[in-house]
């Protein structure tokens, strides 16, 4: 009997230890602010990234979260003279959660951010990132928030073990493509015709996942697929239920290989009034 009790105690201890190990993280994600170097010369820059490891079965959201959800947001507390470039948001994945299409992340995702030190940087700098997000699974949604510290010392850079990961993360951020034009026109009352023209064969969008960065424009539940040839590609996409005319702008993110890219379109400005003295020609 005693042995039996002892065994069951061991079992229950083991079980509770397992449970403890599996305790969900606040916001169902673990975060670290990693840096390619622990040191930075005065006036120099250092590449860093906020690495988010999301619990299995959960996801966080891209800048355009889809039908529901909220993007991951960052705010920085930096010592005087320090600056942070805009944080990069990698190309998302598409998922359906609770019947709604979302754009976001699962597993491990890195948000790169480049920091620049002031010219007079000496000694040590303590920086802070405040990150907020919403994590959802099929079963529920929870908010997450974390204050992350980063300490950098003045000096020549020396690579950390995370440098390669940060470098890889930077390559997942879409950058504006050169030599490609996007045209957007209404097709009927409830659809858009998107046309990409490019002479660069590396920008072939066929087969690539495409996301609209512009909210309330394209129905998120429809996948955007381009087809075409000879540098001219086109896609017909249904408008989002919440689209409010007129058609003003559209930015697309294309999960191209090897690098993702983005392209934007803006409606031409309305015709100038004949008595206008305003320099509309300065609009680009």
């Amino acid at each position: 009997m005693l042995r039996c009790l002892a065994f069951s105690t061991v079992l229950s201890l083991a079980f509770s230890a397992a449970l403890h190990a599996r305790t969900p993280l606040p916001g169902h994600a673990e975060l670290r602010w990693i840096s390619a170097s622990r040191s930075c010369p005065p006036g120099g820059s250092v590449d860093t990234a906020v690495r988010m490891t999301i619990d299995p079965g959960w996801h966080t959201y891209w800048l355009h979260p889809g039908e529901a959800g909220l993007p991951v947001e960052f705010s920085w507390t930096l010592p005087d003279g320090w600056s942070a470039e805009p944080v990069g948001h990698p190309v998302p994945e598409r998922f359906v959660s609770a019947g709604l299409t979302g754009f976001g992340y699962s597993g491990v995702v890195c948000f790169p951010v480049r920091l620049t030190a002031p010219r007079g940087f000496t000694g040590e700098a303590r920086l802070e990132a405040n990150v907020t997000w919403l994590a959802c699974s099929d079963a529920g949604c929870v908010p997450g928030e974390r204050l992350l510290p980063l300490v950098l010392t003045a000096g020549e850079p020396s690579a950390t073990p995370e440098a390669a990961q940060i470098d890889a993360a930077r390559r997942t951020i879409p950058s504006p493509a050169k030599g490609v034009a996007l045209e957007v026109v209404m097709e009927g009352e409830d659809a858009l015709r998107l046309t990409l023209t490019t002479a660069d064969p590396a920008l072939d969008p066929a087969g690539a996942a495409v996301f609209s960065l512009t909210p309330k424009l394209i129905d998120p539940s429809t996948e955007i697929r381009f087809s075409g040839k000879d540098g001219r590609w086109s896609a017909r996409v249904p408008l989002c239920d919440y689209f409010a005319p007129p058609l003003r702008e559209c930015t697309l993110v294309i999960a191209g290989r090897p690098r993702p890219w983005q392209v934007g379109w803006q409606a031409p400005p309305p015709p100038e009034k004949s008595n206008s003295t305003n320099g509309a020609s300065s609009a680009k």
Partner: protein, 197 residues
């Protein structure tokens, strides 16, 4: 069997095609609230009715209850003879699901002043209206037609501090409808957690 399946498919398509639309008769509701009282939308004609989708564990819903924003809206609506129905479409085993008695207790704890609480665990009412998130708000006019389908306010966040500076889209719509004025922005994108059907 095949014909049953076909019928089901046709019925499902019908339901999707006839999801709630602004200016059209609101989908019928015939159900019992958590107190066992019958709710029949047809019998409420002549009154303004609010449908609010809830999930008390959703951070967006928490924002508007913990701050007192939704209870205040419910109280002010009741004073104007608006019938407020809070609907919980969380399926069993999903976040926010509560049986009738537990939903009443929880709603009281949260300060809810809704006239009716509805357990819609099979999602019938939610899907008929196309309720997407919590909170998602609908307003039905005295004529029984859908007058508003959208967000509680303009700032998609879980932070209660944002309420004061947000445009109160829903409250504006309700005020307009009560004053027999045209509802501006009658359909807008609601923000929140997906309804856990």
């Amino acid at each position: 069997m095949k014909s049953i399946l076909r019928f089901a498919a046709v019925a499902a398509t019908f339901a999707i095609l006839h999801a709630a639309e602004i200016g059209q008769p609101a989908p019928a509701i015939s159900a019992k609230d958590t107190k066992g009282m019958s709710i029949d939308l047809a019998a409420l004609k002549g009154k303004v009715v609010v449908l609010e989708w809830i999930n008390f564990d959703c951070p967006f819903v928490k924002k508007h209850y913990a701050s007192g924003n939704l209870p205040k809206l419910q109280q002010s609506a009741a004073a104007k003879e608006v019938v407020w129905i809070s609907v919980n479409s969380s399926a069993e085993g999903k976040q926010g699901h509560l049986a009738a008695a537990d939903l009443e207790t929880r709603a009281a704890t949260e300060g809810s002043k809704a006239a009716h609480l509805l357990v819609d665990a099979d999602g019938t009412v939610g899907k008929a209206y196309g309720a997407k998130v919590t909170p998602h708000l609908f307003i039905i006019g005295k004529d029984g037609k859908l007058a508003y389908d959208g967000a509680i306010d303009s700032k998609a966040s879980t932070d209660a501090k944002d309420i004061a500076s947000a445009v109160p889209l829903f409250a504006n719509a309700l005020d307009a409808l009560i004053a027999d004025k045209e509802v501006a922005d009658a359909k807008n994108k609601p923000y929140g957690c997906g309804v856990k059907y």
